[in-house]
Structure formats: C-alpha cells, structure tokens
Amino acid sequence: MAESIFRRWNQELTMAGAGVLFLLPLLAIQPKTYLTLTIAGLAMGMLLFLVASGVSIIFGLMDVLNFAHGALFAWGAYVGFSVFQLLMKWVEADSVLQNLAVFCIAMVAAMVAVGLLGIILERVVVRRVYGNHLFQILITFGATIVLVELIRVFWGPNDEVTTVPLTFSGNWDIMDVVISRYRVICILLGAIVYAVIQLILKKTKIGTIVRAGVEDRDMVQAMGHNIYLLFTGVFAVGAGLAALGGLAMSIFSLQVYPDMGGTYLLFAFIVVIIGGLGSVTGSLVGALIVGLSYNYVAYLVPWAAAGVNVLIMIIILLIRPTGLFQAGK
C-alpha cells in the first residue's frame, strides 16, 4: 500500500519536475517567443506521436521492432502529395470547406494505401521472422531500402515542394503572439488521434484483446482468438498512423523527399525509448518532451538541437531503463 502511494507520488513529482524544466527556457527567451516556440514544439510533438505510437504498439503486441516504419512514413507523405497534385484546384481554393475536404481525402488515401502496404509487408516479409529480433531488424531494414527505392522509381529521386491548403497557411496574431494556423491543426489532429486510440483500446472488444495481447500473447491465443489476424491488423493500423504522420509532416516542413523517413524514424525511436516501448500514453509524453525540447534548444543553441534529444534519452535510460511508462498502459 505504502509502496503504491509512493509510486503514485513519484510519478506526480516527476511530472511537476518536468513542468518546471519546460518553464526554464523562459529565463533566456522572451515570453512571446516562448509561446510561439511552445506551440511549434507541441505541433512537432503531436506529429512525432503519430509515428512513434505505431512503432510502440507494434512492438508491444507483436514484439517486432519495425525499422521500415520510416519508409511507410515517407510513403504516406508521397501518397498525400499525389492527392494534393490531383486536386490542386481545391488546395488553392479560398474556402475552408474545400481545403478541409482535400486534406481529409489525402489523409484517408494515405492511410488506406499505406495500410495495405503494411498488410503486404507483414504477410510477406515480417511474418517469417517472428520471435527473432535480429532477423526482424535486418529484414525490416531491407524492406526500408526497397520501399524507399520504389518511391524513387514512382515519384522520381528529387525533392518536391508541397503546398499548404490556402486557408491553413498564415498566422493568427493573438495579443502579439504569432501562432501558425497549421500548427494548431497538427496539435488538434494529434489530440484526436490519441483520443481515438485510447477509446478503441479501452472501450472496445478489439482494444481489450490488443491490450491483453501486449500483456500475454500466449494466453490470448489460448482463449481462442486468432492472434495472427490481430497482428496483421495492428501492423496495418500502425502503418496507417505512420502515413498520417508523414502526410502532416510533409505539409509542416513544406517538402517531400525519398529519404525523409530516416530522420523521423530516429525521432520516433528516441520517443519510444523515453516513453517506454509498448505504451501509447508513453509515446505521447515522450513525443511532447522531444518536440518541445528540440524547439527550445534549436532557438537558443542551434547546433545542439540534434544532441539534446539523445541526451534526454540517455538520462532516461540511466534512471528508468524501461522508459517512463509501462507497456500496455
């Protein structure tokens, strides 16, 4: 009893400590800039959450570390890019409805296309190496090469510039604080996805089975559920989330390029190590930590921005080797 209270307090203390840490940059940054940076950091964190949650769920349930997630992310960005190209009129139209429609179509197209790709990947390649971490990493790494090269074959090897839907671009100016509209949309998108995932995991039967699978796979199988079907489904959902992240990120950074998956996969790995492999909430917290600290440090000491996340990851590994949250929570 005492131990559990201590543990709960421990978590709240950690939260409070983290909160203070994230107010620290205020000493060096103007409050208005700080707010802008915070919004940017939250937006980046939410996009990273989309990628990291897929990696995390797939690992938690299937015990597969998917190195091909970055390539799926890039595929999502490219499919969205193609949809935008096709419906250029709607993208450039000065109407919220049309912009929203094209954004939704691109999201659905990217998620469906990459989800199917995920199913193929799981069935053809990943299924053969269940239970062997080394071969999983090797084979998904090989799949990354193939997928990235296929992007080069289909869309050409060069960087492409993406367009932001007209009404999504620009800024709001609230009390002299500049807030980019698209960043707010990203934050909303991430929050909605998190809510939906939590609802599915906590309230539906499938979600219960998935959570049970994270705790004990053999037992779920013994209860008569087809765990392999579940694996394929979760892999497809994870791929779809990566595609969503890729699409949102390509609009965020205004470009798509074949190798874009690599960088964000690294961020996703750092996020899941901080948050704990197998935990969706952990992915969210980890992603926000990474997004915020990256933006603050990039403003203060530009060259150290890439290093600060690795540093945080190392500190977390030292004090809590399994990450902030437990798997399945």
């Binding site: 570390l65 080394l134 990493i137 084979i139 090989g142 090469i145 193939v146 690599g262 790995f269």
Partner: protein, 363 residues
C-alpha cells in the same frame, strides 16, 4: 586413465589435416592474389578495388564479431569506422603534421576513443535489452553525422579534410623500379594496409576461437542458459562490442591513410557505409568472419562495374525503358536480394557451404 580423450583425438586429427585441406590452400592463394595485385594489374582502378575489398572485408569481419558472434546488431559501426578515419585525419592533417609519430599516435587515439565510446554505449544499453543497442547506435550515429557536418570549423564540415601521408607512404615517394613497376608510396601504403588488415583479421580469428569467443557464441544462442551456467553475459558482451568497435576504428584509420581524405558521407554515413557492410555480412554469411571477404568482393566488384553494365544494357536493349530504370535503381535490386538472402539463406554463402560440407561428411 592414460591416453588421449576422444576430444583430444579429434583436435589432433584436425591439426594434422590443417595444412592439407582445400580451404587452407584457398586462403593462401587468396592472400597471394592480393599480394600480387599491384604487379599483375598495375592500373590504379584495380589496385583501388583490391584495397577496398581488403579494407571492407576486414571491416565486415569486425562487424561480424558483433552480429554473428555476439548476436547484437549495431548501426554505429560506420560511426566507429569514421571515428578512426577522423582521428587519423586530425592528427596527420588538420591539427598535426605528416610524421611517423603522429601516424602511430593516430592509431592509438583512434583505438582509445572508440573503446571509451563503445564501452559507454554498451553500459547504457545492454542492461535493458539487446535491441536497444540497435536503436541507440542508430540515433548516436546520426547525431555524429549531424555534429560533424554542423561543426564545420572543427571538422571541416561537408567538405571534409584532405591531407597527405608521411614519409615512405606519401604519393610523391618513389623507391625505384621492381619487376618493371615503379614502387611508389601508394604501393607501399597498399602493402602496409594489407598486412595490417591481415594482422587484425588474425587477431579477430584468435578472439573468436578463444574460450571467450565460445562463451560469446553460447550467449548468442541461449542467453539464459549461458547466464545460468555462471557466465556474466553483460561483461562478455561489453568486451566483445568494445573489441569489435576498436578494430573498426583501426580499419577506419587505415582507410583514411589510403584515401588521404575524409568527409561525413564517405566515412561516417549510416546509409552509405552501414548499408554496404550489412549487405556484405548477409551475403557472405553471419558468424563466419571469412564471409566478409566474399561479401565485400561481390559488392565492391558489382559497384565498380555497374556503370559498364548499365551502358552495356543500353547498348544491347536500346528499347527497353524498364530495364534502364531498374539498372538506374540498382539499390532496389540489392534490397530485394538482401531480403531474399535473409529469408532463404540466412547463413550466407560461406555458412551454406559449411553446412553443405558437414551434411556431406555425415552421409
């Protein structure tokens, strides 16, 4: 109670056959071939190709100590290779001058720095899970590239550092003619690197055949059982990782000596060097050490003659657009090959051959 035990008899039998077996002659003739390359094919392109095969063969063998003998996949092996290359470039190039003492110091610094870094990473990650090692080395390797590119005042940035090697290794040095070939500094460097790589390779062979190497294989095959038998898995894995990384750094320093140039892409790159190394080790065979040479030879020769192949294909089939596109994207073919080899021949060329020989013996 006297008389040799069956195991001792087996060992004696092995020793007696050691110098008569076919594989022994194969190894000797391979070494002789590499020794004769500068005289048989004096063109720089061929010598460079042979050197690349030797250097990458040794690098892949050092990677194999981690992957094949310890069961740990590191994406930071390219980083350690680059660390060695940059140590050498700093000491005889940017912050020093070309002298023999600096050359030796370069090797020492490369070994020390990589040993410290490898120990730190393994201490951090191995106590959690072995797969964390893959993720974290990938992150740190990427960080190393970013830092090397951004801190251009310190490291030369994307332009890299070019330098010249000291004394008898320098390009301008000439020792006179021998068998109709001028012995330049480049050829002396070739032999120096060949012999150094040979020494490193023998050291790796000794390492894997030592009792320590046997324990490592036991840990790889069944970590729990190895631990239950009283082996400290954590300590042994750390030692093996450190050894592999130090060898990689030394090979990196040798590579810098050959190229006389380092830059982030060619010396540190995750997607350039690591990809090559992974392909080589998978094609050659994990856990064999010799497989590295086969893999390196296959990949380097293919890469060297790929432009010729492309123009040949264009010449033979001028209409086939598809073929041209595929040959332009040769990495796609390598990726598919990679997946197929992992699925169907997880032991690679050498491993499959060994298996075939053992099966034949039993029948």
């Amino acid at each position: 109670m006297s008389g040799p035990t069956p195991v001792q008899i087996f060992h004696m039998e092995e020793k007696r056959k050691q110098y008569r077996s076919g594989s022994f002659f194969l190894k000797i003739s391979l070494l002789a071939l590499f020794l004769l390359v500068p005289f048989l094919f004096p063109s720089f392109k061929t010598v460079d190709l042979a050197m690349q095969i030797i250097i990458f063969g040794a690098l892949v063998a050092s990677f194999d100590i981690l992957l094949g003998y310890t069961g740990i996949l590191s994406f930071g092996h390219g980083m350690f290779f680059g660390l060695g290359a940059y140590c050498m470039a700093f000491l005889i190039g940017k912050y020093g001058m070309p002298s023999y003492s600096n050359l030796i110091l370069g090797f020492v610094v490369a070994a020390t720095a990589s040993a410290v870094l490898a120990l730190l990473i393994s201490l951090l990650t191995l106590r959690v899970k072995a797969i964390f090692f893959s993720m974290i080395t990938l992150a740190i390797a990427e960080l190393a590239i970013v830092l090397t590119t951004k801190l251009s005042g310190l490291t030369g940035g994307e332009d890299g550092i070019s330098f010249s090697t000291p004394g008898i290794f320098s390009v301008s040095y000439s020792m006179g003619e021998f068998m109709g070939i001028e012995i330049t500094g480049k050829i002396i460097t070739y032999y120096f690197i060949l012999l150094s790589c040979l020494a490193l390779f023998v050291a790796m062979l000794r390492f894997t055949h030592s009792p320590l190497g046997r324990i490592l294989q036991a840990i790889r095959d069944n970590a729990q059982r190895a631990e239950a038998l009283g082996n400290k898995t954590f300590v042994y894995q750390s030692i093996s990782i450190t050894f592999g990384c130090v060898v990689a750094a030394l090979i990196g320093a040798l590579y810098a000596m050959w190229m006389e140039y380092v830059n982030p892409e060619s010396s540190l790159g995750v997607m350039t060097i690591m990809l090559d190394v992974l392909l080589m080790v998978i094609i050659g065979g994990m856990g064999t050490l010799y497989g590295g040479i086969i893999g390196a030879a296959f990949l380097k020769i293919t890469q060297t003659f790929l432009p010729d192949l492309q123009s040949l294909a264009k010449h033979l089939f001028p209409q086939s657009e598809l073929l041209h596109n595929i040959l332009e994207r040769w990495l796609l073919l390598f990726g598919i090959l990679f997946i197929l080899v992992v699925i169907f021949f997880p032991k690679g060329v050498i491993g499959s051959l060994q298996e075939y020989r053992i099966r034949k013996k039993k029948i």
